[in-house]
């Protein structure tokens, strides 16, 4: 779960990290009031879950409350990469002497938290990592022991931070680590962390991503979830306990298991790409594949108007394919889909399952034996319609 910049920074503040004293506005009038109270240069920043909002015109500097209001007018409601801006953060402008990068993330490779810090902040960290990896200091934290003071000293010394800033910066690293650990974050990033003209440190921009699997113990953060950028269909699927991700293609995929679901998508693309055909979605129906789940999943898939064909790929393991086939037929009767369907059942009692599908003789429903066949049949079905 991604937090907005303002949510991230307000969370940082709870852990003792200095941030600009800005506030959030949802109307130009609120922008005006906040800018008036700040009484100086302000920055109006769109709060949306995409990168590159600055280039898209979502970040503007204003020297007066009136100018801030005008920027608010412009940015609020703006469309940035398909997302509507509902909120802006109005921060006082910072007197920037130097920009630092500081982040803590899960290092999957070694299974430990990783602290990354660089005196060359402000820019895109992936770019810096590609061009000058030696400019980033990396320090792993023992996940059981936690962050130790000597590691703070190592980081500030290795990154070449001016000595006068060792203590305050060390406190910020510790605060960010506490924030990361206590919030079950996958990423807690400050970029830039600014050294001001007065020699103070200030977290000017921030990004926090919370581990979805830990939301059960992060009630406060979960309550602040902003789902405005989540497609309606994905939200419905999430609420129904189905993992669904909308894509651009024409073949709706209903599969049991995440790896097999990705593979099924890949096959539609493998055989359809030459004709511009590919998967319309990722969907993992999970273990049981009861009629209710199949019906719910089918409705979600069909809510995408691009879908021209639905491909079922179910491996019956513990579950028997004949039961799955009956479940699918029940769901069909309920949903009454109007696009062609390719059904491929494999594994336990696959033959019996395919026979059930075939004998039902529902128009527009085809059964396939192999995944290869199924993918090719689905591609052909889309081509026929087109």
């Amino acid at each position: 779960m991604k937090l907005h910049e303002y949510q991230s920074k307000f969370l940082f503040r709870d852990f003792g990290i200095p941030i600009p004293e800005g506030r959030v506005a949802t109307t130009p009038e609120e922008v005006y009031d906040i800018a008036k109270a700040i009484d100086g240069v302000v920055v109006v920043k769109a709060q949306v879950h995409v990168g590159g909002r600055g280039k898209a015109g979502g970040v503007k500097v204003a020297r007066s409350a009136e100018a801030a209001k005008a920027h608010g007018q412009e940015i609020l409601g703006m469309d940035i990469k398909g997302l509507r801006v509902e909120k802006v953060l109005v921060d006082p402008g910072a007197d920037i002497e130097q920009e630092i990068y500081l982040a803590i993330t899960n290092d999957r490779g070694v299974g430990k938290p990783l602290i990354m810090a660089s005196m060359e902040g402000g820019m895109d960290i992936e770019e810096l990592n590609r061009d000058r990896p030696e400019a980033i200091i990396r320090e792993h934290v023992d996940p059981i022991l936690g962050l130790q003071d000597f590691q703070l000293t190592y980081i500030v010394s290795a990154m070449g931070l001016p000595r006068a800033l060792w203590r305050p910066f060390g406190k910020i690293i510790r605060g960010l680590y506490e924030c990361y650990a206590k919030s079950d974050a996958e990423l807690a990033e400050i970029n830039p962390l600014v050294i001001t003209g007065d020699g103070d440190l200030l977290a000017v921009d921030g990004k926090v991503i919370i581990d979805d699997n830990a939301l059960f113990r992060q009630a406060d953060l979960a309550a602040d979830r902003d789902t405005s950028d989540e497609p309606e269909s994905e939200r419905k699927a999430r609420e129904a306990g189905i993992t669904y991700i909308k894509l651009d293609g024409q073949i709706g995929c209903m599969v049991n298991g995440a790896g097999l679901a990705m593979t099924t998508m890949d096959m539609t693309k493998l055989y359809g790409e030459h004709a511009g055909i590919g998967p319309a979605n990722f969907l993992d129906i999970g273990g049981g594949a009861t009629p209710e789940q199949v019906a719910a999943a089918l409705r979600i898939i069909l809510s995408d108007s691009n879908v021209r064909c639905v491909l079922f790929n179910i491996f019956g393991g513990i579950t028997r394919c004949d039961e799955v086939a009956n479940g699918i037929l029940t769901a069909f009767n309920e949903v009454n889909p109007d696009v062609p369907m390719v059904i491929r059942l494999q594994g336990t009692n696959a033959a019996a399952g395919n026979q059930i599908i075939d004998e039902a003789q529902i128009p527009n429903i085809m059964s396939a034996e192999t995944l290869t066949d199924a993918a090719k049949m689905a591609v052909a079905a889309v081509q026929e319609i087109a």
Partner: protein
């Protein structure tokens, strides 16, 4: 022979009185696995299908001499259950549970490493040595005994490939489902090392997917240290970046972890990479 488990493995099921735990414990016993008992705190003294249930792993291990444990408890109790097993001296812990927070897993993986406990998973289908034993949820019908080692991040895709192999008469030494979470106990490289030194394994099938760099590490190992041939498939070529494809770890992030980069690395290392998993049996012939 085989890796990780065989017919002599003595298995405890943590959460055996739960719905999922009990269901799979029974299937494991039917397969011939020596399930010696189970653990559910507060239900010590009860019985499950003629096997004793204990309150704690410590007492269960002391009583049964079990060396393997299967974790089937809910996510919020799973980290504690894994550490309990490791603390009790269990050699191999297989964790089915999905949705365990990554921060829990980082602690748990570190703890298991310190105790010398091998953890498979979490969020994995388990381990099966066909014809001998299975620990987890892999269906009995997906594999016959043979000489191909299978290691995979995913469940049903593995069943597909195993089943396709079986239909072509190709048998399996051991299937290891390592799971698709970002932080897992046992990686591709760990399992490849075991297969490389396992006399019962002559060839290996590796089923990867997008996200992380475990397949790149596997490619490096294959290039530098592996003598046995490897056939591979990487799922997720059509997955968009920045989206989590079902598995918590299946996400292309900041340009890293794409299927293409993994396929290239595996091919460069000498593995034969299928573009369609149904080709895997051909690559193993």
């Amino acid at each position: 022979m085989s890796i990780l488990i065989d017919r002599n493995s003595k298995v405890l099921v943590q959460g055996i009185t739960g719905r999922q735990g009990g269901f799979h414990a029974k299937l494991m016993m039917e397969y011939g696995t020596d399930v010696v008992g189970g653990v559910t705190p507060g239900k010590g003294g009860e019985w499950f299908e003629g096997k004793p249930v204990f309150d704690t792993m410590r007492i269960a291990v002391e009583t049964t001499n079990a060396d393997v444990s299967l974790i089937t408890v809910p996510a919020r109790f799973a980290a504690d259950a894994i550490m309990e097993a490791a603390d009790a001296g269990i050699r191999l812990v297989v964790c089915l549970t999905e949705h365990i927070p990554v921060s829990d897993m980082m602690k748990v993986v570190s703890f298991c490493a310190r105790r010398g406990t091998r953890l498979i998973g979490p969020n994995c289908p388990g381990v099966m040595t066909p014809g001998q034993a299975k620990v987890g949820i892999i269906p009995a019908m997906v594999a016959i005994p043979g000489n191909v080692g299978v290691v995979s991040k995913s469940g049903t895709l593995t069943y597909e490939v195993g089943f396709a192999m079986k239909n072509r008469g190709i048998g399996i030494s051991t299937i290891v489902g390592i799971g698709g979470d970002p932080v897992i106990g046992t990686t591709f490289v760990d399992v490849l090392e075991m297969f490389e030194s396992d006399p019962a394994t002559e060839k290996v099938a590796l089923l990867g997917e997008i996200g992380g760099s475990a397949e790149i590490a596997a490619a490096n190992y294959i290039r530098n240290a592996m003598t046995k041939p490897v056939a591979a498939f990487v799922a997720g070529r059509s997955a968009p970046p920045g989206k989590r494809m079902g598995h918590a770890g299946a996400i292309v992030d900041g340009g890293e972890g794409s299927a293409d980069e993994k396929i290239q690395a595996l091919e460069a290392a000498g593995a034969r990479v299928a573009s369609n998993p149904e080709e895997i049996p051909d690559l193993l012939m």
